[in-house]
Symmetry: D2
Subunit: 306 residues, 4 copies
């Protein structure tokens, strides 16, 4: 059994990590703590998983690495430092898994970037959509905001309500741009708008692009299916209308569907923000680092609906 | 008191009409029926309001007109026949009110087209956004689908769920294109994607455009405020982040906010789909036809939150 | 126009009061404040409405009275001091309205006690149910807890969840017991259990009693209808199954239905906790104090569904 | 691997059974059908699980038994025929498990009866509460009504709404009375009121009784803990306030908490209506019939919150 430690254990992602790892066949949770400055505990575990805010991760990760542990950080502290951390979205590109296996520090992706990147990256890599006119319009369940004691996140304020937030200034836009730029092998112009809706879990991303040549929805779907051939956690469904949160919440899956009319391309993707968008993807990365089957600890998950 | 009749009285829009008109100071509801072929009742009322499906409206409206009544039709049966029906969105353009006042048949706008057109039309009319790169990404409450006895609209299927539907083939896209084209005085290219979310009432539309020149969010908001100066039911708020369903549900208001970064423009608008998106706007049109204050019967409405 | 002041204006009941009084035909809101120690403002208004916590009301009310204002207090500070304050549930008993009209200080009832008392008081007064075996099992919308910045009241914690709270020790039990005891002209034994459910507004109370003689549901319903004959805000419906929150939320109404089998009597009642359970009933009391029609400011309300 | 068949596979309980059995270590799903008259398929399986309406089960069960299969029926068709079917609530009484192990036909309990019986049976068996004054007031998630294509079960009608239904005439009352009567070794007088609330899954039962002697909540909780010592799926928590749906939905657990003041006893229990209240308990019974560990196929379940 590999000994792992969890930091930030009382937040939603931390609780989810704990639940997944308690059921993991090859992992033992050596400790789960809400302590944010216990870097010395890197001695007590082989891998530390940080579900802490970025400002805590910035302090913790170097201390844990120095103490001998490897680290998976779920915050955005290290997602823009490729020289320092492997960016852990296994299905995103060919070299990711090898990089994660070898890494001492893995930056676990953000939830919105996961949904958006899995939807668009293969199409950009294939050159079939333009890289200068991309829009990601997404809605997220409230757990995406973390555990909050604020009136704005109360049941009364959020039920029967919806709004966009941080329009044109959300912190996940640069991460989406980085991923899509890497796929396109060139800088992209991507607009990102998140929305808060009265749902607890799940992200639905509706992504807009322009085709660079005449193409059909079926051809685009085939291209995506080819890109994700053999992937266990990414599923391309029959059409954009066939993607729904209820099919992915509770699972580590990403569902993707495509529509196309003329040169207008719409790709819809859905994930559970706490699983494929956080703790589930972290377990994939942990498995790669430990040499386990990438699916270990994730096979018993099933959709929560109805 | 003006005598009016309501057809399609058992649907959500019909019930809303009934509630509004029962409280209207200058109107008497002569009848409210679920009968779909009672055109002869046009003799019993000055104005007939049709909250019927388009296929029923197509039969009913001519019969009612022939019987002497004027007609406001809430379906999409007559929205594309300007020679036959006035398109009744009073705030959309300068000539609308005069046309509605004089009309014998008024086509009441769709809910999504109302939210989208009020958000974008003034910016297109001013030439400050390009007409060839428009996206309307919207979510609607479930009442927007009408009263349904289908498993797909059950509480169990819709709670905790969200999905896009009729992607790139929704029947409201041509209506949006018609309105925005009229504002731009030229054909537009607009993509429209509706989403179903677990909310009963309300539409939130997030609209994407490209500025044709350097401009700020504040300047765009001022432009919208100038366009809607004196309007009682359209309100331009401080920013795109300040638009939320909770502020409009229960009212006949449309709230609009703008964000801008570089040439990327995002306009977010919100309405109650059954009021400004259906019955409330129909009452505005009825008031214009009857020579009443346009706000009659709509002043006691107030937001439903919390 | 009568000048009134609102204290505790930022809470849910205070906001509701503000909305009702802004639309009241005979009242002018002189001020609405969140200040809790502005007793001197009693000079600026004819009646002060306190939507403040009990500990603030205890300080404010005497100061306001001393400054010359009359007071309606929505907290439980004065509900058990009949010598000092009139208990303002107009439909509860014959003498209430006269007492409220004459009072300088009115204690506005609690939300649960309103639902429970209107359901059971006439049956106790008639002696048709026993006073020693009463149970009130109720569920409340989350606004009943007031405006909260606590994780326990967040959307994430409350959605898809339900629980009983303060079982056998809720502060509303003595108020229910006082009201029912007055109706029965003798002490009663009443058990009260509140539940929190994922709804924003509304109280549904299911009340259990034992009939003292053979009786039918219809006879009990007739007895209730007779007790509430002429009442505008209390409605006895066909059966216990016909009471639902959707019919009262948004209104100042109380709906009551009865079932009976053998000697087992079940009375179900429903109110909007912020209207008939708080601000709406306070406006009834204000109207009585000012000599207005009791319904003034409450006639434009309508149910919020769908 | 034991071969089992599922009838009624498209309903909520049937889908849940399918999901559980697909993950069961010792079971193979030979077939899952929506066919209601395929009794001959009893040849194809060792045990048939019927998630069919009672009228279908009445036809199917004898045919399946005749064809050689053993049967677990989830409807109420056989719950009142002890001579013909074992009543399969393993934790209810000492002899249940042996009876289920030996049975050819098992009647799987109803959801409300499961929650109510586990809460009250040990207290009745101990004689510490009176058997002539019992009330079970319960709320259920909407899946409890089965898969419905009716306007009354639509999202629009049920959201933000709550009501009691079938008051004093629900079909589960006799089953509750039978179970509690068996525990008390004498007929009981129990009133049962179910409520529908805007939740998809879960039952919360608030049960009222009178203590027969002076007793404390702690003593009653200890009595329940002793009764369920060694049980994996029944958990007695610290107090009645500590029982919440969120802790049991997604699991096969029943949580129970007690409050007591004077002679008034309140026991609150919670289950997932589709698991411990239907498919999960059916798997317990199946495991007993097959000689498997009773928990097989149920160990990977975990709560769905947040």
């Amino acid at each position: 059994m590999h000994r792992v430690g969890i930091f930030g254990a009382s937040g939603y992602a931390g609780m989810e990590l704990r639940a997944l790892l308690d059921a993991h066949p090859a992992v033992e949770v050596a400790f789960a703590t809400t302590d944010r400055d216990a870097g010395a505990r890197g001695r007590d575990c082989e891998v530390a998983l940080l579900a802490t805010p970025a400002e805590a991760s910035v302090e913790l990760a170097p201390a844990l690495l120095a103490a001998g542990a490897r680290v998976v950080d779920l915050s955005n502290a290290f997602r823009f430092q490729p020289e320092r951390a492997a960016y852990g979205m296994p299905e995103l590109a060919a070299g990711v898994r090898a990089a994660v296996r070898a890494a001492r520090l893995v930056a676990n992706p953000g939830c919105y970037p996961t949904a958006a990147s899995l939807a668009l990256a293969p199409l950009l890599a294939a050159g079939v959509i333009a890289r200068d006119d991309l829009i990601v319009d997404a809605m997220s369940g409230v757990t995406g905001a973390g555990r909050r004691s604020e009136d704005a996140y109360s049941f009364v304020e959020l039920h029967a309500n919806a709004r966009a937030y941080r329009v044109l200034r959300h912190q996940h836009q640069p991460e989406i741009a980085q991923n899509l730029g890497a796929a396109a092998s060139s800088a992209v112009d991507v607009t990102f708008t998140p929305h808060l809706v009265p749902i607890a879990r799940g992200i639905l991303a509706t992504c807009y692009a322009r085709a660079t040549r005449d193409v059909t929805a079926d051809a685009l779907a085939e291209l995506l299916r080819a890109a994700y051939a053999g992937e266990r956690f990414v599923r391309v469904v029959a059409s954009a209308d066939d993607v729904q949160l209820a099919d992915v919440v509770g699972t580590n899956d990403c569902a993707i569907g495509v529509a196309c009319a003329g040169r207008r391309v719409v790709v819809v993707s859905a994930i559970d923000n706490l699983l494929k968008g956080a703790a589930g993807q972290a377990v994939q990365n942990l498995n790669l680092m430990l040499g386990c089957d990438e699916r270990a600890g994730l096979t018993a998950l099933r959709r929560w609906h109805p």
